[in-house]
Symmetry: C2
Subunit: 429 residues, 2 copies
């Protein structure tokens, strides 16, 4: 971990710059996969699963029997934990429901909005070493709360042609309608275009490798929406001398163990704080099973020393971290003034992992600086809002002349006449 | 206008299919323009304005003097109309503010959200025959209400190097911070990357031609957000025998006069209704200055005859119209069950043009079927929501074991330890 003291503006800019991820090289490959899935449907999925996941599958749809088996395989202790986490996620996301009011903008002119669930949504859950059943909860729970009528989940099968039981258990628990054994760009293609057995969805959510990310990017130009653009996960921790250096170090390591490209930034109010954190980090990292991954991420990480409140805020807002842990005496004062961040963790006991799993907030968050303009996933992500207007005869009399004047000035005469002939009809009455 | 009676499912699918717009041909051109703007800044803007707009400009930023002159040039009657429209748009968009509550999901675990304005936003206003000052209102008003700290507006200059006074007037009235003489893909590039005199923004809003649309699409993969994907404007009108055929016809023509690619669909509950509308349409179209544009759009349009309530709803939801006018006796009953639409106009007096200009709803809406998963522009479009969590010592004791169990099952041991060492520290106390 590189330590930089009181950086000037140019140094700061360089230090906070995210690594450039070259994506263009795989565009052609991913486009080809999407096209083949669009043309070939289920058989293309089976073919790509054979090629990329190294397993021959006959039925890409997970059967009820497979789910029943999974339910038996998940230990009771984990079921209990999932149940408690689920309750918190439900509580917080249910609180995001909005009551919309009908507004009379001008006498006789009424405007309002109505939240309507997106009918069909897709959820992508990566395979690999760790079964991300927590992401199933984070995406399926708000989808269910919003009232989406069909939730389709895709996840790549392992070498035995199976999906991890914890993923199947969580999907079934929340009420996912269909679980598909498909991963990578081919799964995104299946959700975007539909196949014989997989329904086409309107919006796709979830993390993935660079092929999944590129496929999600490409299908947004072909009529399917996505949750948000993706990037490597990241954390920024703000620590002062009241922070326990062991807590700060393990929070940095929590992020670092995600992958060698994970971004980790420490902002310490004094040199000694940073030194103590680095010392603790070097000890704690050795005890981790993912020590080699974490070491790579930590090697690319940086600690910035600055004691000025306004500098700390500037560093946060310029970086726009996905996760921001504020472990300082004045944590609330900082938290209230942050402009760019995905999710904020306040005080000594709010470890990032609590938000990752169970506090109730969503862990699907904007990375790569996107917190400057995107929100994390929430109930909002699964609905769209239709606007309504109803104009009475009196309303038309009140607002009609305004519309006529403006339409005339924009040279749109049919727009003007749509009002004029209505006003004339009222005069005749 | 083609009339189709009681179409079967396959016919309906074909009839409601939107025309395919080939965009790939201009990708290389637009990429090149974006790249040159990123490298060349202001001088590239000046060069492209010379090339594409045919006018040599020295200062791309509109001066205070130009704005003062514009304010003098706009007629008082139009100023009055803009003022009334502005009040309605402000009222409705202000009503979209949400009060977020702090939720205690588990004793000692607090979660909440905070709406924060996107700091810098860009607005694109096309040039051409009609000066779209109404779009300035629709985008700048919610930006200002949301609290965006910098609003930059780009619009191409005319042959005299000027922007239409009504656009400058509206921009100044609402409080746009900077107006730039730039159009097309080069304007989008300037907003996305910034130049010497144009600040880089985080999100770009507004309509445009295919070059603007493609540029907006491309910059979303390079760190800038956009309002929504674009497509030709469209209206669907539902009419029964209680509807005045002249009203229906002029509503269809309002849409048709936007451009030859405008989509116009009539759903009539009986043949006679459609016949009367077509008859009125053929008369009214002749009086329009944009008769040739409107004729092209109407030639590609369709009227569907169906009297069954469930068929009408199916047609609406399948097409997902940008604008939906329901001019029937049971308008509310239909409106309440619509799932996919941008903005809905209820009853005989709610002409689309009233929503386009002055009812208070936003006229930047999802086209091309995107109403199935995107909302129109609203106050929400100019903010992002940061989630917060604060866990007390008691909260940690309550939820910590859940996090340990789940992190263990996902093989993320640092995630687990971040909780474990905190729990241990509490035991020591």
């Amino acid at each position: 971990m590189k330590i930089i003291e009181q950086p000037d503006d140019m140094t700061l800019k360089a230090v906070l710059k995210r690594p450039y991820v070259k994506k263009e090289l795989i565009t052609a490959d991913v486009s080809m996969i999407l096209k083949k899935v669009q043309e070939g449907g289920d058989s293309a999925i089976i073919e790509f699963t054979n090629k990329f996941d190294g397993v021959e599958i006959k039925d890409i749809i997970v059967t009820r029997q497979e789910i029943e088996t999974a339910i038996e395989e998940v230990p009771e202790a984990l079921k209990m934990a999932i149940s408690k986490s689920r309750r918190n996620i439900e509580k917080f996301h249910a609180s995001q429901r909005v009551i919309e009011h009908k507004i009379e903008t001008t006498p006789g002119v009424y405007c309002w909005r109505r939240s309507v669930p997106i009918e069909k949504v897709g959820i992508y859950i990566p395979g690999g070493s760790a079964p991300l059943f927590s992401t199933v909860l984070m995406l399926a729970i708000p989808a269910r709360l919003a009232g989406c009528s069909q939730i389709v989940l895709c996840s790549p099968p392992n070498q035995e042609g199976k999906i991890h039981p914890a993923i199947l258990y969580a999907a079934d628990l929340i009420g996912v309608d269909l679980v598909v054994k498909a991963g990578g760009a081919q799964a995104i293609g299946a959700l975007a275009f539909g196949t014989e057995s997989i329904p086409k969805v309107s919006k796709i959510f979830g993390p993935g490798n660079q092929y999944v990310t590129k496929a999600k990017e490409l299908i947004t130009t072909q009529g399917t929406a996505i949750d948000m653009p993706a990037g490597p996960s990241e954390v920024m921790v703000i620590a002062d001398k009241t922070a326990n250096p062991d807590f700060v170090a393990i929070d940095l390591l929590s992020q670092a163990e995600h992958g060698p490209d994970s971004q980790v930034v420490l902002v310490a109010t004094e040199r000694e704080v940073a030194n103590n954190v680095v010392k603790s980090l070097n000890t704690q990292i050795e005890a981790l099973p993912r020590v080699s991954i974490a070491t790579q991420a930590i090697d690319n990480s940086v600690a910035i020393i600055t004691d000025e409140f306004k500098n700390i805020l500037q560093i946060i807002n310029r970086y726009a971290p996905e996760h921001l842990i504020i472990n300082t005496e004045n944590a609330h004062k900082i938290a209230d003034q942050v402009v760019n961040a995905g999710s904020i963790f306040i005080g000594p006991y709010s470890a990032e992992s609590i938000g990752d799993y169970a506090s109730g907030t969503n862990h699907t968050l904007p990375t790569n600086g996107y917190a400057a303009m995107y929100s994390g996933v929430s109930l909002d992500s699964f609905v769209k809002k239709i606007t309504y207007q109803e104009v009475t005869a009196q309303g038309l009399k009140n607002i009609g002349p305004v519309v006529e004047e403006m339409a005339q000035a924009e040279s749109l005469m049919a727009h003007k006449r749509a009002v004029t002939i209505r006003l004339q009809s009222l005069k005749k009455e």
